[in-house]
């Protein structure tokens, strides 16, 4: 902020090439149904946590696919794993297992210790 009174704003652009998608690959290998997600939002509509915050599993799935790991790590904590999303998903995606795998992936990769 020094003498100019402002800082250069960060872009909100997702840079697909430079993002690290190891977390996404880890999940895709272990939960093939993750590919079926058509991001319809059924899961985030019924979400228990979604009742209290702006947590959206649909958005979380997208951020995982895009490799936005910082944001995913933050949002991941809010899920209560209650499993309602599993029951609602029109494509039969095992959404609950995706969250569990993501938590495990973060635990294993030391830099992103959750």
């Amino acid at each position: 902020m020094d003498k100019f009174g402002f800082t250069i704003s960060e872009g909100r652009q997702i840079d697909y090439e430079s993002n690290d998608r190891r977390i996404a690959e880890y999940i895709f290998d272990r939960e093939p149904s993750f590919r079926l997600c058509i991001e319809c939002g059924g899961c985030s509509a019924t979400c228990t946590t979604g009742n209290f915050t702006d947590f959206s599993l649909r958005e979380l799935n997208i951020l995982i696919k895009r490799g936005e790991n910082e944001q995913v790590r933050e949002k991941l904590k809010k899920c209560m794993l209650c499993g309602k999303c599993n029951l609602v998903c029109p494509r039969g995606v095992n959404t609950r297992n995706i969250v569990v795998l993501a938590k495990k992936a973060f635990q294993k990769s030391d830099e992103y210790a959750i």
């Binding site: 100019f4 009174g5 402002f6 800082t7 250069i8 704003s9 960060e10 872009g11």
Partner: protein
């Protein structure tokens, strides 16, 4: 890059530009930041191309910046613009030639709004009559000053003393063209070459020997955004836009940037200084910045005018690298010399006096 494809696009966007008898309206920003450019423009139009260019002293600002900052309602702006048309009609001119892109965009938008909603035009007529008692006629032809220079680029090229070619390597200078957003983005058909691949500056550069670079962020805004810059708190957004452009053009190693809007050259120039101060990054080769020019300055340089008369010393990013590449003979020590006595001006065949 398939050039034939671009040429086909340019062919679709032919624009009718007046031949002569221009009613020239100045730009507030350009007068404050690049006075030399406007002077050079008038000199080129009147002396090099001997066109009739009339300028009315009672002309005021078109309130463009206030309108886009939303502190002036649209009817007020329309009535002020109507007054300007009235001044033009009284002066007996029909070819409006604004020097500012925002004004050009505003005139196009107002004429288009009146075209679709004639009742608003009637209301503005009544308001103008009530406020100033004046009557106005809509301009027959509306062309931006850069359109006119584009139209006569061949004539200027013919009189050119220098070419935009690197003296040592003989290769054309790599030039990045930046078009003001309000030039064609709002009404693509009103800009030479349309909104995607505007040809107005490319035409000039190709005519004067340079080579145009097409980089991914060429259509990105320079970041002026009116209230994004005018209020200090928002300038972070403004500088971020220019930075996006510089990051994108860097791999292409451009030698210079040419612009056709009053705000863009100031911002592309100042933001390079700010980014260097904040992040120590330089975008030009071997540690220098990329010099930024208005089209009038480039035309002046090509015609051999004295760089310090064109006002290049008012730029924050030094322009000397380009001058040396082209091989223009100038006196570096007179950069900040403000002497305008006859003897001095004769020695440097100055034009402004």
């Amino acid at each position: 890059m398939i050039l034939a494809g671009k040429k086909a696009v340019w062919k679709d966007y032919q624009k009718e530009i007046a031949e002569d008898k221009y009613y020239y309206v100045r730009s507030c920003v350009r007068q404050n930041f690049f006075p030399g450019s406007e002077t050079a423009f008038l000199k080129i139009m009147r002396e090099e191309l001997d066109k009739d260019v009339y300028e009315n002293p009672c002309h005021t600002s078109c309130t463009g910046i206030c309108y886009h900052s939303d502190i002036v309602p649209v009817e007020t702006t329309m009535t002020v613009v109507a007054r300007q048309f009235a001044l033009m009609t009284e002066a007996g001119y029909e070819n409006l030639m604004p020097s500012c892109i925002t004004s050009f965009g505003l005139y196009t938008e107002i004429l288009d709004t009146w075209h679709h909603f004639p009742e608003i035009e009637e209301k503005v007529r009544r308001q103008l009559k009530k406020a100033t008692g004046r009557e106005f006629k809509k301009p027959k032809n509306l062309a931006h000053a850069s359109d006119v220079i584009f139209k006569f680029r061949k004539e200027i090229g013919a009189k050119a003393k220098y070419k935009l070619i690197n003296k040592e390597t003989g290769k054309p200078l790599k030039v990045v063209d930046h078009i003001g957003c309000h030039y064609a983005k709002m009404f693509p058909s009103k800009g030479v070459g349309g909104a995607e691949y505007p040809y107005v500056l490319t035409g000039m550069i190709e005519e004067w020997g340079g080579q145009i670079i097409d980089y991914p962020e060429r259509r990105h805004c320079c970041g002026f955004g009116f209230r994004q810059y005018l209020v200090q708190a928002n300038r972070g957004f403004s500088v971020a836009c220019s930075k996006e452009k510089f990051e994108s053009m860097r791999p292409f190693k451009p030698d210079m940037i040419i612009t056709n809007c009053p705000g863009c050259p100031m911002f592309l120039d100042r933001w390079q200084y700010v980014i260097n101060e904040m992040e120590g990054k330089r975008y030009g080769q071997n540690g220098e910045g990329i010099p930024v020019f208005t089209y009038e300055e480039v035309a002046g340089l090509v015609l051999g005018y004295d760089p310090w008369e064109l006002g290049l010393q008012m730029h924050q990013t030094d322009c000397e690298p380009v001058l040396n590449k082209i091989g223009i003979d100038y006196s570096p020590e007179d950069k900040y010399n403000l002497d305008i006595s006859p003897s001095y001006s004769k020695k440097h065949n100055l034009i402004n006096v």
